[in-house]
């Protein structure tokens, strides 16, 4: 029985999906940097999509960034419906541009979902790891929380937008 070691090697490869999700469950947001061309990726990739080498290095993200785009979803998939989200109780998700220059899609917390038109692109956010039970299994989900409870934007935007 040759190549049995591959099972573990693949499962533990830090640039594959399984490892990214394992890091999340440990409260770590990991990205990868190409050692040749310095391109940055999140989640980590096994092959650089700019220069196509496999010389990648794991990098821990600081977990700070700003909201680049978002939506407030009223009709979600069963996973979200099971958690009580619906038309009366919508949720926000969006794209966060991290300080490291790369972006990621995640749940967005701490914004006023009742006034979606007043959520501000550019709002500073910080990472938060949500542990939720999904299909009977505990899983860690990536989220970002709008900072300072809206105070920053109380000055600029008249107190609306970030709850």
């Amino acid at each position: 029985m040759a190549l049995e070691g591959d099972f573990t090697r693949v499962a533990e490869n830090e640039f594959y999906t399984a490892a990214y999700e394992r890091f999340l469950s440990q409260g770590k947001l990991m990205g990868a940097k190409c050692q040749k061309c310095e391109a940055m990726y999140i989640p980590p990739r096994p092959i650089c999509s700019k220069c196509h080498t496999s010389e990648m290095q794991l990098v821990a993200m600081k977990g700070k960034g700003k909201l680049a785009a978002y939506t407030v979803i009223a009709v979600g998939p069963p996973m979200m419906v099971d958690e009580g989200f619906d038309r009366e109780n919508p949720y926000c998700c969006g794209i966060v541009e991290l300080e490291e220059g790369t972006s990621i899609t995640a749940r967005i917390l701490g914004v006023d979902v009742t006034k979606p038109d007043q959520i501000k692109i550019g709002t500073p956010v910080t990472v938060e790891y949500q542990e939720r039970v999904h299909n009977g299994e505990k899983k860690t989900f990536l989220a970002f929380r709008a900072l300072s409870g809206g105070q920053l934007f109380t000055c600029i935007g008249g107190g609306q937008g970030i709850g």
Binding site: T17, P43, T71, I73, G76, S103, A106, L142
Partner: protein, 424 residues
């Protein structure tokens, strides 16, 4: 990156098209039954007829017969139902772009010289499942590591792009509504459309229904006021409301492709395939500019180059309006309009049936409906009909429509396919 100029090994033409009524068929109706319906209509459309047994192969787009109908391997099942065993058949799954890609693969197969006559088409029987499960199934085409766990949905991901477009170009929710008003009007002239009703028709129906129920008769000053009414047009994923979203429905469409040198054996008026392109893209968060659909740009670049034309030469277009923002993104990324400028064309009615570049004449995915696997070849059906001037009340006013283009994309635009047609 793609330096080689590509061309078809030999000419390819469309000589017949068929499409079912899009809408909600009862449970028990199978996708393969719908395909048979579209096939029979396609047969009737071929002016000089053809022999079924002369078909060399089938290319069939379908997103998820497995989840929607508990059936995998649906392409061979279609051939069986058509009585055409042992013809080869392949199912092509590129999410909502499946049959646009099936069409391209069929054209490439003929161009290669292996086949002389193929059927390209697609089908989807989506409505057996409740809406949340349909939402989840379509959502499986999103990125499974970041987008799906974030709770993103299809409307959600396009709504997310919409906020980026609004922030960058000042696009408004009223601009999205303009797409909806146009496409619903076009669909009101298309009996095959799922929602064959204009927004004004909806306003009339809703007012009548209120009166019937003994409620006070509602009044809206115009279509915009109706579309701003949260009861009539609730938010699905802000800023996308119900009337910004394509419909979940059932349907099938197919076309007959033949080698150019025999096309006139089937009709005196074939529509020739002169350009095709396809590309892939990252999930939205990995794109440098969220308002730029790079797969669309690259697929269009390949297709224009193969055809030897540019976006300014196109007379009619069918584009992927799974959500109203997607039509705007399509208009810009195909090069019809500069980024941020498509909304001006919408405001001025340039893309209406009587405009200078009619878009989504059949009502688009928005109003004609989006039975995902059937949508791409559904666009070819409309271009074929328009370019042969057989579209009846929705025939475009413009006469010089010798060049037509279709854009079909999958998921968040991570697949895009562009096909260009010529009438000679």
């Amino acid at each position: 990156m793609f330096l080689k100029k590509r061309r078809l090994g030999r000419g390819v033409a469309v000589v017949g098209v068929g499409i079912t009524k899009f809408g909600v068929y009862p449970k028990g109706v199978r996708g393969s039954d719908l395909f048979v319906e579209s096939f029979n209509e396609m047969k009737r459309s071929v002016d000089k007829g053809f022999q079924d047994e002369d078909i060399d192969a089938f290319y069939i787009g379908n997103l998820s017969s497995d989840i929607f109908e508990k059936q995998v391997h649906c392409a061979a099942a279609v051939v069986n139902r058509l009585g055409l065993v042992p013809k080869p058949a392949v199912k092509i799954e590129n999410a909502c772009g499946s049959s646009g890609v099936a069409f391209r693969e069929g054209a490439i197969a003929i161009a290669s010289g292996v086949y002389d006559m193929v059927v390209a088409g697609g089908m989807e029987k989506m409505t057996n499942l409740p809406t949340t499960q349909v939402t989840e199934t379509l959502g499986l085409a999103l990125d499974p590591v970041c987008e799906f766990p974030a709770g993103e949905t299809f409307p959600g991901i396009f709504a997310t792009i919409a906020t980026a477009h609004m922030a960058k170009y000042g696009t408004t929710v009223e601009d999205f509504m303009k797409v909806s008003i146009k496409n619903h009007y076009n669909a009101s002239l298309n009996p095959k459309a799922h929602l064959d009703a204009s927004i004004k028709d909806f306003m009339k129906r809703r007012a009548e229904s209120a009166v019937e129920k003994g409620l006070p008769e509602p009044h809206w000053a115009d279509e915009m006021e109706f579309l701003h009414d949260p009861v009539q047009n609730p938010i699905i994923a802000w800023p996308m409301r119900l009337f910004d979203c394509s419909t979940v429905c059932d349907g099938a469409s197919c076309v007959l492709l033949v080698a150019e040198d025999v096309a006139k054996d089937f009709t005196d008026n074939p529509i020739y395939v002169i350009g095709t392109g396809q590309a892939s893209d990252y999930p939205v968060h990995e794109r440098k500019d969220m308002t730029s659909l790079n797969a669309v740009r690259e697929a269009a670049r390949q297709a224009y180059e193969m055809a030897g034309i540019g976006p300014q030469d196109i007379g009619v277009a069918e584009v992927h309006d799974c959500f109203t923002i997607a039509e705007i993104l399509s208009m810009e990324n195909l090069g019809f309009y500069k980024p941020g400028k498509a909304v001006r064309a919408l405001r001025e009615g340039e893309t209406n049936l009587d405009g200078k570049l009619p878009i989504n004449m059949d009502g688009g995915l928005k109003a004609k409906g989006h039975p995902v696997g059937a949508s791409g070849t559904g666009m070819v059906v409309e271009l074929f009909t328009q370019m042969r001037e057989k579209a009846g009340p929705r025939q475009v006013k413009r006469k010089d429509i010798d060049l037509g283009l279709m854009l079909n994309f999958g998921a968040q635009g991570s697949t895009a396919v562009v096909n260009i047609f010529e009438r000679r």
